[in-house]
Symmetry: D3
Subunit: 172 residues, 6 copies
């Protein structure tokens, strides 16, 4: 399978925050943002893998800057690394008011998607990623460490065997 570039599957999604997306304080509810992030990430993963995909996990997400009713948000989803049958996607969220002002980066999250066969619904191999820019390479390298943490959190890897993370803690 041919390696693919980040730009080949980058996905941009824009949404306007409507009243039903917000809590009684008039702020976008965290779960609604997660829902849009999952859709943007999934479309990006489907394009890279050229396959149906299923959400496997989302890493820790924090919500720092409130987003208000009437604001416009932009989600940018990019593949950071491909493994055997799965990909890690970084979804970044930016917000602005309806007039295009008060631009701000709100948060980001790493989603993992697995590519599946349409009929058997079993995992299928995915094209590898060719990171080009420095940012793409940094995200590519970090992906191995984030994957190890996921395996620990899911109980599939003993902390003592998490070599990438151990190194990370030792180097700090």
């Amino acid at each position: 399978m041919k390696e693919k570039k980040v730009s080949e599957s980058k996905t941009i999604m824009t949404e306007m925050i409507m009243p039903n997306d917000t809590n009684p304080l008039g702020n976008l509810m965290g779960g609604n943002l997660l829902r849009w992030m999952d859709i943007a990430g999934g479309i990006c993963a489907g394009k890279h893998c050229e396959a149906h995909i299923v959400t496997v996990s989302v890493d820790h997400v924090s919500f720092e800057k409130p987003i208000h009713v009437g604001d416009v948000i932009t989600l940018e989803a990019s593949i950071t690394r491909a493994f055997n049958t799965s990909v890690e996607v970084n979804v970044e969220v930016f917000a602005a008011d309806i007039k295009g002002g008060a631009n701000r980066r709100c948060n980001n999250a790493y989603f993992t998607f697995v590519a599946v066969n349409d009929e058997t619904k079993k995992p299928v191999p995915v094209p590898q990623l060719l990171p080009l820019t420095r940012t793409e390479q940094t995200l590519f390298e970090g992906a191995a460490r984030r994957r190890e943490l996921r395996l620990i959190l899911n109980g599939r890897l003993k902390p003592s065997e998490a070599n990438e993370i151990k190194t990370y803690f030792a180097e700090q």
Copy 2:
């Protein structure tokens, strides 16, 4: 007011076609596509005008290639020309299947939005557009002709006074 470029307000929106967006034949309903086009166009207009905006009109739209449940559509909205208190926005629609295949340009439409004051809700002046590329210039020039046609269709201009259109018909 400072002139602005097309790129400063270009808006990209991606949506996945869900079951409730489709008719019993499994195709995206035309009206649902128009709704998304209006939102993408409105966000683009708001960014250019730095103001709240209101949809004034949409020109003739035709729907040529069916879009299916599970497809992913991308809407690209760009300002084509600014008038005194209004802008014309061209919204183009592209579709692909969930695996990123079967890419196709589906259709486009010209929306007109007027910028309004938040409180008085009266029209306010908008920044002019600086077309740079050849495509941007072609769209800019066509906007005057399309505007004349709208004024005729709304009964605000006599056909005999539609100079731009007369010339257009004469030149064919």
Copy 3:
């Protein structure tokens, strides 16, 4: 196939404007109105054609009087003319406040729908329309001119061959 009357497929739809249908100024978004107009028009076309239908196009629509959250809108869709495999439907929009006051005609639009076979999804012939009242006859005659304009706008007819429109411009 037996000719059918306008009244046999006339469709009335009533909707209450909810918060999520409106922009931050509290006005119904143009795209949401287009979506309802397409549904009302499509139901009307389905009844006349006794077939599944697909939206082919919508002519220029302008939005003149704002519609507010809590308002009630009534859409009236009527066939204006049937061609070989398609029909033109006129959808008129009326609004009133929740107490039935402030009645006003808001706008209208001409939609074109094509009748399709359930399985092949190919166009199928439709019953012709029998216009009875003077209004029905005026709309019936105008439909030929509007159709010519659509063919020009879609690049399927040269402006120089648009005989109905030429006459219309000449007579003004």
Copy 4:
């Protein structure tokens, strides 16, 4: 306050049944139909009362003929009788398939709405109804009996004092 006719507030609503409105068997869920009936009834009551209205109750409703995804339903809401500050509305439901065939009357329900002041939210007097046709008169007379039954069911009237109902049972 001037008496009003049934026709002055009659409300017709048309909806197409979408996938999300149906259960896993593909039939419209009863609760979704009740929601549309309440909206149609409420719009009708608002028009008659020229006031904001609140749903007070709905009488026994049964669902006899299944309605399928893709079907089109028509709801007709008419005032049957006005009391001091409330009205009874009869909402009838008809269904047809997308081609306008298989027309059938599905069911009906009697809703009671009370008119309220916008600010105090206290009940306000409503215009009385002038029943004209025989059907309107029959519904008008039955409304008194239905109201008595509601008062019993709400514990506000002793069964022994339900004179209208006693007569009804005696006459059978």
Copy 5:
């Protein structure tokens, strides 16, 4: 078929009232509450019957205490009695404000569901109910009377033959 207890199918549903669920006065619309009650009742019935279910009817419902945007409602659905192929479910509604204060019981309704075969969609026998507590027994006994009233209202039983109801009126 083995008798089942009420607790085996009791269903609790919690919903937050969003702007689109409310009327222009900011109160939850009655029809939206009925829709949620039908879903809660249907899930409860499906669990008891271990079958697909269809809503057959809902008895008289009254709406006494207004529920506001931002409030949280809890619906509790319990089987009251099983008949041959149908069950009666009591759905009770409680509301509180977003801070958990102002707790109140709002209303209740009796829904009837019939269990159907997935393929034939014909009614199938259901497990009988074993009422244990005093409340469960009271509801169980009342179910026979409520069923008789439904049969009268549907025209399937003559009032003169409604023995349970006659006794009820006589005893008051």
Copy 6:
């Protein structure tokens, strides 16, 4: 402020999976599940804190067992620990088919919510939690470790200062 028990704010939410909640493979999309988990967690947090709340973060979530259209899911949200102005909530997800069969625990996630003043929108102190059962105590103790991990992931704590986590790794 008085300590509160877990049971005082435990929140149960039941949802039926509708077509629009699922991807083209017919499985519930991960983001939709996260949205419901956030709502259930937020209602639980609001009840415990007796205040408006805002989602601060969600820890790593993995999706292991697919949930299908027509399935019924139950979400159980419980406070695990209260800090100064925030609470950690554990949301567990269970699924079953429409007939109540194929019961399974699907996944869980830890959400953090901060209590805010209605007007200033600044954080306010929250009641502490009194864990009673062994499970409640285990979750209470783990909450300190999970909080440290969050602070590291947000860059607010150096890994070298994460004493709880260091101990956890050392003990494995």
